[in-house]
């Protein structure tokens, strides 16, 4: 086991980034024209990095598996983007954003990276406004903010419930300008299937053209992986259908360490599963918990009656309901952080109190809020002695103004009217904090190979705060990577073009072709989805919201055996040289089947509970916090970075010790 060097610059935390930028090497404009950079993925991180690098003069080759960069799953982010602008004069600052992010991550992120993120956050908003991103504004014409995710200030910028879309379209427009100039060569419907290393350095990738099936070689002086997270290892998640770990996993297998794979965010407010055919889960914005109260029935008889349809939730009186978050966490109530709210819902459903046919749903009830707002509105408008129906009518209007689009989406999917009957929600896999290990420069353990956005591990520790994913993607792509990559490329100005005819490229292409041909020629009996579903179930049941050693060990064995069966018995119809979605899925699921095992091993190694990682053995045994997560800073205040050895369960563990000089470590309490 070796100690990893994060290359964090010396000096006080607030000066690190500024001083570092002044000292690192830069490439002169004429030389940039002779340097190629590959960017895999065109979401917020990849799109913004591609545009910025091209503006600086590098030749960018960008890759996306969708038909346009605008389709990347960053587009689905709803709530907003944090920035320490302090426009609301509520005492926000770079330090406070830094502090909230480190604390929210349960003290498992790297201080210097998080501080830099907070530092550049304000620039992101300036940049996006200059691009024409239509953020919400108030009547004075200035930018509006909202509060989010239980922090104490209003620092979240937003564009209704489509902030991710607007920011991605901003990055897309910046890319389009460079594509039009020829500085970005955009490869859509291309999937990266292998990294090419020459003399130990990342020098190119092998891709499959998803329309023609051709396997292509692409070379560059550096490779940036911005391919997002791996939540789809659970089969069902809020990720897009195509979201995958393949690019990240392939660089892992070529020497990039994979950090903290077990850190997964399970979002508490998603629409529950409705049947076995379900293909994905839909998120409902966290903001609903500001007004909704979460409950299940107190009595098992009522649960059964509701499942049978003989009783409706609205039939239950107040004292027949268990508002379990308010009961367990009187101080924060329904506004506890995401990980806490998710585990509490699971606890009730595991005890049998789930309210739908699958037993995996709890209520999110707006009745109290509707009546409260209705009363307020009636008082303001001078309607004395308004009837209950009138009060409800007024209240529903207020709720519609706040959450109308979410209520409409819920109704479209479930065919139930959430104004009249409580919503049903259940936690779902949403975001992965873990990812490729990177140093302060965002470089992986492979020289010349970088990872940005959700694909890397660096900024969110063991739990991500709301509205921070968009911030990190754009910070990495617009403001961090374009500087730090120059420090590396400054040594490459005399290299000249990288040939794609070297043995390394030939070998890598051959390996990809063989891997895909094997799937086609396998002629098994079961579909790719069959295996993916089984993997997802193992992950959810044993490596999901709460984990214990026994379950994890069983999961590791089960994943091994299902992986073996997959390679023996998977059926991929069609051929190599055509549009073949089953072949695409097979290659992705094959990687998920390896990642899943590493993921479980990581969770098994970490015998503490922190953030989204909850070990049932590591809980507070008495006192006020009885039953809550117990962190172990003495033994686990480190990043676990795994080195591939050929078998996911035999990966080598490398530790990066985390030191906190600017923040005091505390227990998170929401009681």
């Amino acid at each position: 086991m070796a100690i990893l060097d994060s290359k964090t610059p010396a000096g006080p935390i607030k000066d690190k980034w500024t001083n570092y930028k002044n000292q690192i090497n830069v490439v002169n404009p004429a030389n940039k024209r002779a340097i190629d950079v590959i960017v895999v993925g065109t979401g917020l991180a990849g799109g913004s990095a591609s545009a910025s690098l091209a503006e600086m003069g590098y030749n960018v080759k960008a890759f996306a598996f969708q038909d346009s960069p605008r389709r990347a799953h960053s587009i689905a982010a709803q709530g907003g983007i944090n920035a320490a602008k302090n426009y609301q004069n509520d005492g926000d600052s770079v330090y406070r954003l830094f502090y909230d992010t480190v604390k929210g991550g349960d003290y498992r992120s790297r201080e210097a990276n998080v501080y830099r993120l907070a530092e550049v956050s304000a620039n992101i908003i300036d940049q996006c406004v200059a691009q024409g991103v239509p953020f919400a504004r108030d009547y004075g014409g200035l930018l509006d903010n909202r509060s989010f995710g239980g922090v104490l200030v209003s620092r979240t910028f937003y564009a209704k419930g489509q902030t991710g879309q607007q920011l991605l379209l901003g990055a897309y427009s910046a890319m389009n300008r460079q594509i039009g100039k020829g500085k970005i060569k955009m490869h859509t419907r291309h999937e990266m299937l292998e990294l090419v290393k020459v003399d130990g350095k990342a020098r190119g990738i092998i891709t499959r053209n998803l329309v023609t099936g051709e396997i292509d070689r692409h070379s560059a002086h550096a490779v940036v992986i911005a391919s997002g997270g791996y939540g789809n290892v659970f089969f069902l998640s809020t990720n897009a259908m195509g979201s995958n770990v393949t690019a990240a996993w392939q660089i892992h297998k070529k020497g990039a360490y994979f950090a903290n794979p077990c850190y997964t965010q399970i979002h508490p407010t998603c629409i529950p599963r409705s049947g076995d055919y379900q293909s994905k889960l839909t998120l409902m914005s966290e903001s609903l918990r500001n007004d909704g109260r979460i409950w299940v029935p107190k009595n098992m008889d009522d649960v059964m009656a509701i499942r049978k349809g003989t009783k409706k939730p609205t039939d239950l009186s107040e004292d027949e309901r268990d508002y379990y978050l308010e009961r367990r966490y009187p101080a924060f109530g329904n506004l506890v952080p995401r990980d806490v709210a998710s585990r509490a819902a699971k606890e009730r459903c595991d005890e049998g109190y789930g309210v739908n046919e699958t037993g995996e749903a709890v209520y999110l009830d707006f009745k109290a809020a509707i009546e409260r707002y209705g009363n307020e509105t009636a008082t303001i408008s001078g309607e004395k002695n308004a009837s209950l129906d009138r009060i409800k009518e007024l209240g529903e209007k207020v709720i519609e103004n706040k959450y109308g689009n979410l209520f409409q989406m819920y109704e479209k999917i479930t065919d139930e009217n959430p104004y009249k009957t409580p919503m049903m929600i259940y936690p779902a896999v949403h975001y992965t904090m873990g990812g490729i290990w990177v140093d302060y420069n965002l470089m992986t353990t492979i020289p010349g190979c970088y990872a940005a956005g959700e694909a890397n591990f660096s900024d969110h520790g063991a739990n991500r705060l709301g509205a921070s994913a968009l911030m990190q993607g754009l910070a990495d792509g617009y403001f961090v990577l374009p500087y730090t990559i120059g420090d590396y490329l400054a040594n490459d100005i005399r290299t000249g073009p990288i040939s794609i005819d070297t043995p390394e490229f030939v070998e890598a292409e051959k390996s990809v072709t063989e891997r895909l041909e094997k799937f086609i020629n396998n002629k098994g009996t079961k579909t790719v989805d069959y295996f993916h579903r089984i993997l997802g179930k193992i992950m959810w049941d044993k490596v999901g919201m709460a984990r214990n050693a026994e379950g994890l060990k069983a999961a590791i064995e089960e994943i091994k055996s299902i992986r073996e069966e997959f390679h023996k018995d998977v059926m991929v119809p069609g051929g190599m040289f055509e549009l073949n979605p089953e072949l695409e899925k097979a290659a992705r699921v094959s990687d998920f089947l390896e990642l899943g095992e590493l993921f479980a091993n990581d969770a098994l190694m970490r015998e503490e509970s922190c953030g989204g990682h909850f070990r049932e053995e590591s809980i507070e045994l008495d006192g006020e916090q009885k039953g809550e997560a117990k962190r172990d800073d003495t033994n686990y205040a480190h990043v676990a970075a795994w080195e591939w050895t050929g078998d996911p369960s035999k990966s080598n563990l490398h530790k990066e010790e985390l030191t906190f000089n600017d923040i005091e470590l505390k227990q998170r309490s929401y009681k």
Binding site: R177, F479, E582
Partner: protein, 246 residues
């Protein structure tokens, strides 16, 4: 539910293509339309047949990847939704459903229900941006106040998801709604005004080169648009184009 699906099958861009019939049963009314197709495909794969290819990704109505012409309507019979958000409860047991790709000269078919919408990207390359470089020194975001109505209208135009339903629906296969949404967004904002003239001329020019037809004000695009992009944007683009041309 039991259904009969009549689906357009076409091996590749050179193939002629034809409608094939597939019976499906065990369809739940809670399924989304794409989940119903997943069930069909899983059955086809299990038999060793080639599954029906269709574009899809986010499955929550925002990425714009899914398309399909269902019973003669882009994104099917429901309003204000994409195909991935369409649910089977909008159909009846025993229905026959016709599923075809988006059809337009500007959207050549790649396979089955998958079409090539890269023409949309090329129109954006021609001018769908504000020419500002990334820098840590852009002026403060609040330096130019923007009237709330302008910001809201720009936002409404900017919510276009680029799915192409407007083109598929239009009898002229016109891309005016799509192009005007981007032109409008930028022409309403001070940041976009500087190069508004160049933008509208270049984008319209590229739109014409891609083989999209002209607008004859039937308004079908607005009706079928899953995001409710307004026809007003086309009027605004026409004004911008006129201003830029004289």
């Amino acid at each position: 539910m039991k259904l009969t699906l009549k689906i357009w099958r076409q091996k590749n861009s050179n193939d002629k293509g034809k409608i094939e019939t597939y019976p499906v049963d065990n369809v739940s009314e809670h399924m989304s339309f794409l989940e119903m197709l997943d069930v069909l495909n899983e059955g086809l794969v299990a038999k060793g047949d080639i599954p029906v290819a269709f574009d899809h990704d986010c499955r929550e109505g925002i990425c714009g990847m899914c398309s399909m012409y269902i019973n003669g309507e882009a994104h099917g019979p429901d309003r204000g939704v994409t195909t991935c958000q369409l649910h089977m409860r909008k159909f009846n047991d025993g229905d026959t459903i016709y599923i075809e790709p988006f059809r337009a000269k500007g959207f050549p078919i790649i396979k089955d229900l998958v079409v090539d919408r890269s023409a949309f990207d090329r129109i954006q390359h021609a001018g769908g941006f504000v020419s500002v470089n990334t820098s840590g020194n852009t002026q403060d975001a609040n330096a130019i106040p923007i009237p709330k109505d302008d910001a809201d209208n720009a936002f409404d135009a900017a919510t276009c998801i680029g799915c192409g339903a407007c083109v598929a629906t239009c009898k002229n296969a016109s891309a005016m709604l799509y192009v005007s949404a981007k032109v409008s967004q930028f022409s309403l904002l001070p940041q976009g005004k500087v190069e508004a003239k160049r933008r509208v001329l270049n984008m319209v020019d590229q739109m014409d080169k891609e083989g999209f037809g002209n607008c004859t004000n039937t308004g079908a695009c607005e009706v079928e648009c899953p995001k409710g992009i307004s026809l007003e944007n086309i009027a605004r683009m026409n004004r911008e184009y006129l201003k830029a041309s004289i």
